[in-house]
Structures are given as structure tokens and as C-alpha cells.
Symmetry: C2
Subunit: 666 residues, 2 copies
């Protein structure tokens, strides 16, 4: 473990104003024997003291003799929706109304956030309740301490196949609660080795402790499950979900688990994907698999989250008929309505895999009678490994705002995954998390904005990318307005910059195989992964229209029509849907090839702009933060240059068409 | 370790004829207290009994009463060159003349070889002495048991950082002696971790035992050395070869080593290469480093073998001036004549790195006053991983037969590395070996031909590829003439087939990065390794003429002129020396692009021919050998198809020029 103390991220409160009051706290309809409420009071005390210098003595202690007294009143109001809160400052102090413990905790964090963002305690005011019932983090942590696609050190949950619980665990729970996260999956969806034994006696004691720490901050603990557990830990020769003995095994197993872990929220399952076992092995459907587990866990109030990332990962690159983008819809759409009530499908935002630009998955809203959740990735697997700056909230916002046309009115992805469209309760958002045991949690200090931002966005999908960025900056740094504005603008343009210097117009995948950092234009072109750009000397792109793979037809007709025609297809996705000649004229009046050249030169230049802006913050941000981030920018500039030159050279060498501006292409 | 007994390779004698005599043995001028001579007698006995059924009772035992008696007479004849032999069969038996113990051993193995190839013992006849003074195997075995670029299992020398000595060790020494190998480097040239401690007390006992086993079969043990040993195991802060304390450290260390390992032949050193430490770090020359060690080891009769594989491995792909091919000559030519007498430079056959086709390194013969050895690789790193069949002796023969024009007359590489050109004694050939602890030693049973072949060729560079192949087949298998001929022809055409379906006309490197099996046309194109093909929509190849990198000018003028002009450059190396348009007309009357298509379609088809020929040997070769090799051919066919399709698609997509024959290109 690290010897240096970890940071407190956005809870590392700096003085917002110099207060002159003393606080008392009052509970009405709640009790401080409710541990989440007690923690809310603890957080209030810790936050107020750091933000204002005002003391919040433990209740029961004598009031201070001098000065004005303010009161934090926490009141039970059944009219407030579940997990929601109303906060209202006044000259008497602050009132928090909520109908449950989580609402109290979120209300208190809302007070602290508003103070951190510039309000006096007596001025705070907000009525809020979560947009999404489920707001989850997915850890891809392995029990040997490694993290699949982790860019911030090793796991803080595991070391040498044991579960680690220490002060850091509680801090992590505090951070998550402060942004409204209410469910955490603690192990990699690829469940192998020791992780298969998380549902055995070997780990129950530690898991129970962990689930309590989480629970005390309003968070349910979830685990990823090995669908082949009956074989791997049960010693059976099948895991056929319709086999009576298998079902009986699961019934016993889940009973055992809930006996020991009553706080468990449920299980996340990656089945029949990238070599993981699943129901297909036995000629069963995904619904057969998910429903069996759903039924087994139902008596305990648990849920099954079933991932839709199922595709053929041994494709022949010569095969232009098979289209990985189609796979999710093809595998899951027919079973719409067949999934049981306590099963929810977790669907990646795009049909491929977390590229910097993809269309929205047609499964989202395409399923009309099935619980569904949106999965995004804040671990920057394909978007710069938390070396390159890439603020992802704008990407998530685009997904949430996308009109699926699944119905009149409530047809955006935000509507669908919140449960508003179908009136279902099992719905929400999950993020593959970007944390590790680095002392700053996210490797790049600035990558914490994605962690913060995902939580805030999943709680309130109406927040804008800019609002979230400003909040995070205000809470994290102590910057004058001008410098805060510089940083905010850096964040807001970073995703477009990354997109500009990496793969063009939605085609994706021009990335170093396996590692996924840095360019390799043909790296996935002749692979088995279904990830091709099909560039030749005349053009590039994948024909996914009705004349090609037909993927565009998986959308409702308005979108299908739009995507099917290169003239109406949004240009940022042009190469995802169409094979386009280099000489094609874009709406900007540039040819496709010139767009590739221009965007790559611009992207690299703008990356240098980001680095220069960061340099301008020297002295305004803590020195160690400045140095750490500067190191990352140095690497990003190398990366941006490499992307620029390799992509430009590749297309120049292939097309033979020169850059109009005569810049250096190799 | 494997549980099944390992094979005896070409020493797995099968009955050559049914003899009816009994042998006695006679030593004249030798004694069976000479352990190499004793081992020669042991091998004779073991071989004769298996090959003919005739008994060779231990000397001193009573002769058999009945039957004819033949005599093996081993006679000391000072007129025979060192390590040479004269064998002569007659009605009385066989006479072996030699002037030293190794000559006796080689003579005996020659008798057995001739019998295995069809002669009666009484008919054998040969006068031979080694073409090369040094005939060495280089193991890239690591002490954790792994083998760098090993394709036949794990190391049989090391397990968990300990030296393993068992019956297999002696068998290995026997095999090596039977093909004339007289020096073996037992550890990877990349000396790291535990291997740095091979020159410490920790390993001396085991090394002494190993060196004795080797010595008993006429083999000197060598070790790869960590040039930074004074730092890594000596605790010093420098390994500057001109530093007095460093020299003193080495003097003590080498004295200690020779006190414990008096049989040690010397050290092999990879310095200043691919991240290995070396004299450049201290502003010293390669000669400074090599000579220091040479001087230190001189009192013990040891030698220093210094590798010339020094190049910039962090090149920028944009840089078209730097040329990795130039590096060896650029770094070593200026110091020609500066190396001490007991130092020998080990030079890879080509200027790059063991590609299927490269020109001969211009250092070979380019150095005129320096001991030099030729290094080749029988581990099939870039030539099919001992999955694909690739008989490498034809490649080595081309290198040996190459006229360097370094002088009148004795100017071939064979002349240079044998010592004939300069009259030097420290000269020879080394091979990076292709063995591991697989029970058949070489993974693919057929890959043993390269092991056998290298030994035989280094002993007698006048042998043809066909002669060597026939010997190996006759000794290894018990095949009728027709089947032996099928197998021989398979071997002889295999290298050309591999070349046809992999990278075209000497350009090399279109291989999967790191692993080096299978195609990735651009895999090394934008890398740091100095390995580029520079293909664009008009043509491909690296201009290494006087108008390009100037590499061609490193040769003597006859070759420089030939290579400099695409019209006189051998076409199999055309793309190594020239950037050539796809429409360039080759001497065959085909365009370059059509040649690429044709050769790749042919190569794949011919690979299928190899597999079919192997199928025809079912029943003629042992079943388990048949099955093992058939499995490899199945993989080779997948590989050949992948190479064909990726290379053809790549060039079709890039050039836009269709195949004249309209075959399927993707």
C-alpha cells in the first residue's frame, strides 16, 4: 500500500468563508441511531468546520457561550421522493427535509456542495431527487490486486487474493455517497480464479464488513458473478440454467450468501461474452440465464444485472456480413418482455465498446418491455488512459439526450434508463470506474472530474457538462474566477480534442491492440474482434446501411432513415455508417481526406493549447498537483503528435492525396 | 519436467544392416583414461550395437568364441589437423586417426553417421577437419526456466533459478558432439536477475558439474556476461571499462571464476544493445569494453565473444535518414584492428535481425583485421516459430557462399569466418539454438533438421543443403527411398515457401509485433525499432542507395554497385535496397504488385503441398511423430492463409491495382 496519505478529492474542503456562528443540530423524525443519519451529521460537522471555521459540537455537549447559533434541522417529510431532499437556508440555519436516510445524507452533501460553490450556509436552497433509481459504479478490480483497464495503480479492494479494508475504504464510500452513488460492484465482470470464491465462506466475513461500511453511506454492495459457479466451485458438470440440480445449487448458494451478507444488493453477470461462460453453451437464451438467477435471488430482494455485451469475438476480418455493432440488438431484442421483474439489462452506451465517438446503442429504447440500465466507462480505456485529458460528461450527455423515438414524448435515453418511459423502477446508470490505489485515486488529478461528474449526472441528468465541471473545480481547487474559468474551458473542449487527433468521424479502433493507448491504424483491421475500418486507396468506413450490414435499420425509423443516408447522417458518425470516398465533400466544404488532415493537425495543436493553459495555472493549483498533471500533459503531447502523424501518414500513403496546406506528412 | 522420456533425435539409431561380427577396440597413442576417448568408445559401442546388432564388448573382457572379429583401431596421428579425423574401413574393421581427443570422438560419430546413411562399417571412409575453429550454440535460456524466443517448451538447463543437471544434460552434450559443436553458451545474452549471479559462488558447484559433462564430450562451456556486473553484483557505482577499480573488480572476479571453473571457455557479451548496459554509457568504445574483458581473461586462456548487434532501438519512424541496417558497420568498422587477439566479434548474418531474407552483413569481411564469427538463428523467431516448416540451411549456405570482395580469392563469408582469409584462429559460427524441454527437443520434429544441419554445416561448410537434409533424414527416420525423397524435397523447398507467403522481396518485418508469428503489415511501420517498409499508394521499399540512406555503400565496390542499382540488385532483395513502384517490371515480366499477389497465392498453395506431402508419409514415420507434425502443418496452413490474405489485401487496398488473375483479395 502507498505510504503517503491519499487525497480527499472534492471533499478536501477549503475555506469558503469565515463564519462566526456555532451550530446545533436537530433531528425530527430521524434518529442518530440511524447510522446513515449519524454519518450525515458527521459529514456536516466535518464539512462546515473546514468550509467556514464554524464549530458543530456533538449534540448533547454544552453550547458555546458566545456568538450566534445556527441550527441544522433534519426533518422527516414523507412527501419527499425516495432518496430525494429539500434543503433551505434561512437566518436560523438550514432545514433538510427527506423521507429516508439516503435523502438526509444527500441533502447534507448538497449543503456542503453549495457552500463549496460559493453560497453561505444560510442561503442554500435546492429540491432534488435522483433521476435514476440505480446509480452504480462497476469496479473491474481483480483479486490479485490488478485492475483490468485500470490506470491509477492497483486495486484498493484486494491484495494477494484478500479483501483489504482500512480507512481508505470508508473514504471511498464517503466520496461515492457525496455524489449520490447507491450501488457498487466490487469485482471485475470477468470473474476468474479467487473471485469465483467471493460467494463462499472464504470471504464472507470481510464482505460483510465491507457491505456495512457501504451501507452506512447508503450504498448497496454488489458482486460480479461467475455464471459457471456450479461447475467451478460447485463441482458440478453443468451450469445449464434450466437444469434442476443447477437451480437447486444456486438456491442453496444464494441462501448461504444472504444469510451471511443480508445487505447485498445483488449480482452483475457477464455471460457468453469474450470467453465467459453463459446460457448459450446449453442452447438456452440470455433470458433463461438471467431469469433463473433472478428467481433465485428474489426472496432476498436482490436483483440481477445482466450485461448485453455479447458478440462474436472470433470474427474473420474477411467476413463483411457479420457486424459486431448489430450483435447486442440481435441477441437481446427478440427476448424483449421475457425478462423477469428483478432483472435489469445493462447496455453499453454504444454498440461497440466505449470508443470516443459511437452512435447510441439501438437496444436503448429498442427494448420496450425490459428493465434497462446505461453502462458507460469513466476508466479511459480508449480515451487516453487518464494520461490524456478527456472530460467525458459531454459524451454521456449526448447519449442521454439522444431521441430514440421509442414513443411519443419520453423517448430520450435519459427517459428510458430512468424508468420514466416505461414506469419501471429497476433502471439507471452504471460506470466502469477509473479509480485505483494511487494517492490521488485517478492517476491524473483531472480525471477525477469524470468520477465526480458521473455521480452527479446519474443523480441529475439535467445538469449540464459545464455546471458539473464548475462544481468540481470549485470543490476541488481554490481558484480565482479567471483561473477556474481557464480550467473549466480546458475540460469542456478536451473530448473534442481527443477525438480530433484520434480516429476520425466515428470509425474508432485505430488504437494499439491490447493496450489501447496510442495509434495503430491497422491494429484491429485484420483481427478477430469485429473492429474494422475497411480503408482502401479510395475511401474508408463501414457500410452499415440497408445495402450494407443493415445495422442502421435497428433504430426506429426516424433515426434509421437519418443514419442510412450519408447526406443526413451526422458527420461525426459518417464513417461508422458509410464507406465514403476520400474526395467526398463534407458540409464544411472540405473533402473527407482534407478533414482528416485538418482535424489531426488541429487536434495536436489544441492539445498543446491544453498543456499551455495548464502551465498558466502554475502557482494557482497546489504544486504537487501541478507537477503531476504537467507530467501527464507531456505524455499527452507525445501521444497527440503520434496520433496526428500516424493517421495522416497512413491516409496520405494510402490515398496519395496531398494536404492542401502542404503541411508535413510522413 | 516432462514425465515422458525425451527422444534421441538423430542418435535414435535404427537397424542399418544385420551384422555378424564381434568388435574389439584398440587404442594407439590414446588411452581410455582420456574421458573424451572413453566416451567415443561408449558411443561406438552404443551405435554399432543398435545399427548392426554386432556386439562391442568392453575391452579387457573375453572375446566371444565364435564369429568373425572386427577391430576399431584408434590411432594418434599428429599429421591430422586439430579436431580432424581420418576414418577408413577395411576387412579388418575401421581405423580412426586423429591428433586429439575431439578428433577421435568426431571420427567415431562419422563412422556411425556413414553406417546410418547406408554404408557397411567396413566401407566407411572420410578425411575431415572442421571448417570453423569455433562451432557454437547460443542458448537464450533464462534462469526462471523461460526461453527468449523459445518454441519448444521451457529450458532444460534451469528451473526456478537453479541449474538442472540430469540424464538429459548428458544426452544433449552427446547430440552436440555428434554434429561437431565445441562450445555452448548456456544463458541468454540478455543477462538479468539470477543470471547475473552465474559468476558467483551461488552457482559454481553446479556449473563445474555442467562444464565437466560438456568437456567429456569435447565441448567448452561459455556464459553470457552482464557488462554491468561490477554494479549489479559488485555494488560499485560504475562499470566504466577504463576505470581502475572496475578492472580490478573484474580481475578478481575472473580469477575467482576460473579457480572454480577451470574448463570455462569464456564469455559472450551483448553490450549497449536493446537496453543492455555497455561501454557507450561511459563514453568508451566497444573495443574498450571488449579488450578490457579480453585482457582480464587472457591469463586463463579464455576468450571474449562480443556481439555486434548494436543499434538505436528508439528510432523515430518519421526519420528516414537513420537506418538500422547501417548501425553494425557504423559502430564497428572504425575500430577494425583495435580488438585484442582473444576477442572475437559475433556478427548476425544480416544487418537487421534474422528475417527470412536479408543481404549479408557488410561487417562480415568489411572488418579486415578483427576476429569475427557468424551468428545465425535456428530458433525460428521470424521464420515460423517451429510451427511452420522452414529448413534454414539453404539460407545459411547463401550467406557462407556470398562473395564479400574483401580480397582476391578467399573472400566468401565462409572464408572470412573460418579464419582462412586472415589466417586467424579465433573464428567460426554460432547459432541461437531452437531447443527446449519438449520431449522431442525442438517442438516440431522436423525443426531438428536445423539443429543437426547447423552443426554439420559449421563443421563442414562445403556440405550442400541437400546432403545435410539427406543425412538427417537417413539418421532420424527409417524410410524407403521414395519417402525419404519426398521428405527431402519438402525440406528443400520450405524456406522459399515461407518467404513467398510472408514479406516480399527482402523487405521483412511485416510480422505481429513482439510475438513475431503471423502477419501485421504495418505492425512495425510506425514503431521505434528502425524496421520500416515505407509503403504508400505508389510503391514500397527502403531507399538504401547512395541517394537514400547509403547503406549499400558499406559493401565493397562490386557489391555496392550491384545493390545500388535496382536493375542489377538481386530481385529477392529489391525492396531492401530500393523504393520501387508497384508497376515496376521484374525480370519475370511481372509487375511488382503482380509478383506480390502471385507469390502469396503460390506460397499458400505450396504450403498446402507440404502438408499433403506429409500426409503421404503416414505409416512411414512413427505415428506419434506423424501426428505431432501434422498438427503443426494445420497451424502452418492457417498462418499461410492469413499471411496471403493480409498482405494481398493490404497492397490491393493501398495500390488499387487489381490482381490480373482476378483471385479473391479482401
Amino acid at each position: 500500500m502507498e505510504t503517503k496519505k491519499w487525497t480527499q478529492l472534492w471533499l478536501d474542503y477549503h475555506k469558503a468563508y469565515e463564519g462566526d456562528c456555532v451550530w446545533e443540530t436537530k433531528l425530527e423524525g430521524f434518529s442518530d441511531s440511524q447510522v446513515v443519519v449519524a454519518n450525515a451529521l458527521y459529514e456536516f460537522r466535518r464539512g462546515i468546520e473546514a468550509l467556514t471555521g464554524e464549530m458543530v459540537p456533538d449534540s448533547g455537549k454544552d453550547k458555546a457561550d458566545e456568538g450566534k447559533t445556527l441550527t441544522l434541522t433534519i426533518q422527516n417529510n414523507k412527501a419527499i421522493p425516495s432518496e430525494g431532499y429539500h434543503i433551505e437556508g434561512s437566518e436560523k440555519g438550514v432545514l433538510v427535509e427527506a423521507s429516508d436516510e439516503r435523502g438526509v445524507l444527500y441533502g447534507v452533501f448538497a449543503i456542503l456542495r453549495q457552500i463549496g460553490c460559493g453560497k453561505k450556509a444560510t442561503e442554500v436552497s435546492e429540491t432534488a431527487s435522483p433521476s435514476n433509481p440505480l446509480r452504480m459504479m462497476n469496479h473491474w478490480d481483480n483479486m490479485d490486486g490488478s485492475i483490468e483497464r485500470g490506470y491509477s495503480g492497483e486495486s484498493f479492494f484486494y491484495e494477494k487474493e484478500e479483501i483489504v479494508i482500512n480507512d481508505r475504504t470508508r473514504d471511498y464510500a464517503r466520496f461515492m455517497a457525496s455524489i449520490g452513488i447507491n450501488g457498487i460492484v466490487i469485482n471485475n465482470v470477468n470473474v476468474k480464479g479467487a473471485a469465483s470464491y467471493l460467494i463462499t465462506d472464504r470471504y464472507f466475513d470481510q464482505l460483510a464488513r465491507l457491505s456495512e461500511i457501504f451501507n452506512d453511506y447508503g450504498i448497496s454492495l454488489f458482486m460480479s458473478l461467475n455464471f459457471a459457479s456450479p461447475i467451478e466451485i460447485g463441482g458440478m458438470d453443468t451450469c445449464d440454467p434450466l437444469d434442476e440440480n443447477v437451480i437447486a445449487w444456486w438456491e442453496n448458494k444464494v441462501k448461504e450468501v444472504y444469510d451471511r451478507l443480508p445487505l447485498l444488493g445483488g449480482f452483475l453477470v457477464k455471460a457468453d461474452s469474450e470467453g465467459r461462460p453463459g446460457p448459450f453453451t446449453y442452447g438456452r437464451t440470455q433470458a433463461d440465464g438471467a431469469n433463473m438467477l433472478g428467481d433465485v435471488i428474489k426472496p432476498y430482494g436482490g436483483i440481477i444485472i445482466w450485461r448485453c455485451f455479447v458478440y462474436n469475438c472470433t470474427q474473420d476480418w474477411r467476413d463483411t456480413k457479420t457486424d459486431r455493432a448489430r450483435a447486442g440488438y440481435d441477441y437481446f431484442k427478440d427476448l424483449d418482455g421475457a425478462y423477469h421483474d428483478n432483472v435489469v439489462l445493462q447496455i453499453k452506451n454504444g454498440p461497440m465498446d466505449f470508443q470516443i465517438r459511437e452512435p447510441v446503442s439501438p437496444l436503448l429504447g429498442g427494448l420496450q418491455h425490459t428493465n434497462q440500465m446505461l453502462e458507460v466507462q469513466i476508466a479511459q480505456e480508449y480515451t487516453g488512459h487518464q494520461i490524456d485529458l478527456c472530460y467525458l460528461i459531454p459524451l454521456f450527455k449526448e447519449v442521454l439526450d439522444f431521441h430514440t423515438y421509442c414513443c411519443e414524448g419520453k423517448d430520450t435515453v435519459a427517459d428510458v434508463v430512468s424508468g420514466r418511459t416505461m414506469g419501471n423502477k429497476l433502471a439507471g446508470m452504471a460506470a466502469v470506474i477509473n479509480t485505483g490505489n494511487d494517492m490521488n485515486w485517478t492517476g491524473n488529478d483531472l480525471a477525477a472530474v469524470n468520477l465526480y461528474g458521473f455521480g452527479r449526472l446519474s443523480f441529475d441528468t439535467t445538469l449540464s457538462s459545464e455546471e458539473i465541471a464548475k462544481e468540481w473545480i470549485a470543490l476541488t481547487f481554490d481558484l480565482p474566477e479567471k483561473e477556474a474559468d481557464v480550467l473549466c474551458k480546458m475540460l469542456l473542449r478536451s473530448r473534442e480534442i481527443y477525438e480530433k487527433y484520434s480516429s476520425p468521424l466515428g470509425i474508432g479502433w485505430m488504437v494499439t491492440p491490447n493496450g489501447h493507448y496510442g495509434p495503430s491504424v491497422d491494429g484491429y483491421e485484420y483481427s478477430r474482434w469485429g473492429t474494422y475500418h475497411r480503408a482502401d486507396h479510395l475511401g474508408i468506413g463501414v457500410d452499415r446501411t440497408d445495402k450494407g450490414t443493415g445495422y442502421a435499420q435497428q433504430y426506429y425509423k426516424e433515426n434509421a432513415k437519418m443514419y442510412n443516408d450519408p447526406k443526413t447522417c451526422p458527420e461525426e458518425l459518417l464513417l461508422f455508417f458509410h464507406h465514403i470516398p476520400y474526395t467526398w465533400m463534407l458540409k464544411t466544404g472540405k473533402t473527407l481526406i482534407q478533414h482528416i488532415y485538418d482535424s489531426h493537425f488541429e487536434g495536436e495543436e489544441e492539445a498543446r493549447g491544453l498543456a499551455a493553459d495548464w502551465d498558466s495555472l502554475k502557482g494557482a493549483v497546489p504544486e504537487e498537483v501541478f507537477d503531476r498533471v504537467k507530467e501527464r500533459f507531456d505524455l499527452q503531447l507525445d501521444n497527440a503528435r503520434e496520433w496526428r502523424d500516424q493517421v495522416n501518414s497512413y491516409f496520405y500513403r494510402k490515398s496519395g492525396i496531398a494536404d492542401e496546406k502542404g503541411r508535413t506528412i510522413y
